[in-house]
Symmetry: C3
Subunit: 362 residues, 3 copies
């Protein structure tokens, strides 16, 4: 049995296979309409997210299954102090597969090693949000046929945008992908991603501040929202929020086959007038997300049917138990009862270790 915690839990080949299934689902929905008959998805949303939750729920209904769950922490047992591990064990009595969102980093992973059903990470704080990346990948795949040799621009909040980090990680496994990082200075991509993803994989990248000057070279433009909740200082938010708005004028400078993606919700970083442009594929991306979630549910249930034993995501890695203590206050290792502190050695020579729950450095 496997779960999906981070996009890299799946190999490039597995992603390809799932994208082909997702495309088939879109073309032949009737073929899949009873694929999960009698199965139940639990959507455990400890923080609200309409889009992600409804996408999962729609996915399960279209597979002929059914859905139980909650949409905010206040309607859950978490309010009574229950651990994620126990919640996972209990929900395993009620559902065949779990999709979960929480502000606590690493919570989906902890759930996955305690549940007796597969767990899908629907977002664990600023850590991972792999099903969004599945939607992103399918959208690029459908319009470009693959990922090799593409020039992909990321625009907006590259500092806090976990969807950006995750998609860059996913793209790092293809050949000759060029990355153009477009953001204000305050919101540049964190150094560790440049070092451990871009540089480690020899990806070419540039950091620029102007969307207008750089849009012309792109094959894909990934726009992001500047989120109010990411800023300590509301004034800084006000000053920045209108930067990097994509409008009809800027679209005129882009290639005729440059596609615009956005993880949504959009506030005003893309003008509504751009929606009518055939290159604006962010609403199609939303539909793709549903199809990928359907393919994902099918895959994880199949894997469980083949082998109910939980596959160790860290098999073969060197782990340090209770040697270091994670300092990330949002990490599950600071919140969950009787949970070991575990770090994996990512670079033995330089003694670099990362928390297995939240990926923060020791």
């Amino acid at each position: 049995m496997r779960s999906l915690i981070d996009i890299v839990d799946f190999s490039v080949d597995e992603l390809k296979e799932m994208m082909d299934v997702a495309i088939d689902i879109g073309n032949n929905p009737a073929k899949y309409s009873e694929a999960c008959k009698g199965k139940k998805l639990a959507t455990l949303f400890f923080e609200p997210s309409t889009r992600t939750r409804l996408s999962f729920e729609a996915a399960m209904w279209e597979l002929g299954g059914s859905v139980i769950g909650f949409s905010s922490a206040s309607s859950s047992s978490a309010a009574k102090g229950e651990s994620y591990a126990d919640t996972a064990k209990v929900i395993s009595c009620y559902a065949d597969i779990i999709a979960m969102r929480s502000p606590v980093e690493g919570s989906s992973y902890v759930a996955s090693i305690n549940a007796s059903v597969p767990v899908i990470n629907g977002g664990d704080g600023g850590h991972c949000h792999p099903t969004q990346t599945l939607a992103d990948l399918l959208t690029i795949y459908k319009h470009k046929g693959g990922f090799d040799n593409l020039t992909v621009g990321f625009c907006g909040d590259l500092k806090y945008g976990r969807t950006v980090h995750s998609l860059i990680g996913a793209l790092s496994r293809y050949n000759n992908v060029n990355i153009v990082l477009i953001s204000p200075k305050e919101l540049v991509l964190p150094d560790y991603i440049k070092e451990e993803v871009l540089e480690k994989n020899n990806m070419e990248y540039v950091e620029v501040t102007s969307l207008e000057d750089n849009i012309g070279c792109l094959d894909i433009l990934y726009m992001t929202r500047i989120q109010r909740e990411r800023f300590d200082d509301p004034e800084e938010y006000e000053r920045l929020k209108n930067s990097y708005v994509l409008d009809v004028e800027k679209m005129a400078k882009a290639k005729s086959d440059m596609y615009v993606l956005h993880p949504l919700p959009r506030v005003n970083e893309i003008s509504v007038k751009v929606d009518a442009d055939p290159r604006a594929v962010y609403f199609e991306q939303c539909l793709n997300g549903k199809h990928m979630r359907m393919a994902l549910i099918l895959k994880l249930l199949e894997e469980k049917a083949k082998d109910p034993v939980i596959v160790d995501r860290f098999a073969g890695e060197k782990l340090l138990i209770n040697r270091y203590r994670c300092t990330n206050t949002k990490c599950i290792s600071q919140n969950e009862q009787e949970l070991d502190q575990v770090f994996k050695v990512v670079d033995e020579e330089n003694n670099v270790c990362r928390c297995i729950y939240c990926d923060k450095l020791a």
Copy 2:
């Protein structure tokens, strides 16, 4: 493709047809139990409403479909600043039909022109609540066989009660309907409804203050709740809330075939002791509401299957784009990103224009 925003979106003939379907549904539920198999209803409730939401959900399940949605704004993307237009586009990827409630007037209409599926207005602030009116109409129809020549009393909060306004509008299309308006002075029917609905359609009406003195002449009594949330001054609410309570004594003065309707929830404006009276049909009205929502879902899905192009609700009307600005702070035109201000000319001679979103005067 059509949506239901205001009760007058349907012709009198269409309403008749839907009521007959609703009655057939009540008599032969099994016949409809797979009518929406594989279809999904999204219930987007930006403000809570148990009754309306559960009625829609029960309706869809009884048609063999399934349901996704949210029950309060806090569990939705609205909290992140997403427009109603975008929400509608996204939800169109997940569901086959949308039922929506929001405090923002005109929001359902804006959703309907952006969605690629039919939208049902489940209440947009103080503006419209047409599915309640469908329940009201079916209840009268079942007990009276039609609407012509009836004397209909409205009692309670006639100022803010949108269900009252909507039902009066619906009744204005039948012949010789007499209206008896029973309310405290503070809560009389607004002038514009008297002028533009009652007088324009030559309906006879009287305004009175005593329920007891006037109950004897009625064929239908439509009771309403005096809602705390409508009052700026809590003391005024306390003073008025117990006025106009319908009790067993008043019922004794009514005709033996005078039926009592109430949109519910009831607080204490109808004594519980009245419930046992066969003329008290407000709980049956609730059941009728479910059957009408079933008929409505069927009709809108059929219309979409016939023609997926959105029917323009304002075809043939003279519209003024960005000439006036709506002053209603609850109107969607004050909230939604990049939305044109649009007014329709309702009386060219006297230069009377109304906002197409919220119906307020220019």
Copy 3:
């Protein structure tokens, strides 16, 4: 038609029958997968409870039915002042059976006498929570084959723990059950339960303070959580919360066939390390709860099909109408509109009367 308000609403024979059905459901789920096709369960949760709500919902889906409902009072009409009686009448238009949780004691009973469908009490304040007791009973039954001659320990919060009170009441109907009450002095079992249940039924019981010293004699250990919300004084909570933690050391002193139950959620009163012990059956208990809820739904729907008239739970009892007034501020008789004050005479000689809604003394 019957409802389940208190565990004693079912006879010992009926419980045996339901447990056998529940076991069959666990062994042959496919046999029941369409048993409630076309039926709807309404889950009316006026206060949040993930576990209980999701267990009911999972139960109904596994019977082939569907589910509507709400998960907090704020998304319900209660916020608008609607009575439980009216809510029950309205929901009866939408669903075939109701599961309900509320902080108001007696609310499920009031709902049950107003609904036209069966009502299951999913917890009414500190009063009753019979479906938890169904889960407890099945768990004991599966491991011990019955209830006669068992020594059952209850540990933790015996004062406020309604699941404890309810299970003791259920066990009082079997033969030679010995009860060991293990708690701090502040949280001992209330006197009225000792008198009216234990002593009245001639059950042997002891009150002790040490878990360690008494665990060795037990056949069943029922652990409970010390709930923060039950304490007026947070300091007293902090002092007590770590008492009576069950750990591996204490388990070593227990019999090899002593099973540990817990109504969950667990906070830290049972060490996570105990989970691996085969005698720890609290997660299995959770699964048993789902199977018992399935058996219960089937039974109540069958009873309704046989006879739609509501069975009077107080038939044959002497009732006093509006003689006394209930002083329990959490009792529905203090909240619901136009509801009679009703007390039943439980001991005519000594003039002992209890409120029929909340069971408090007159």
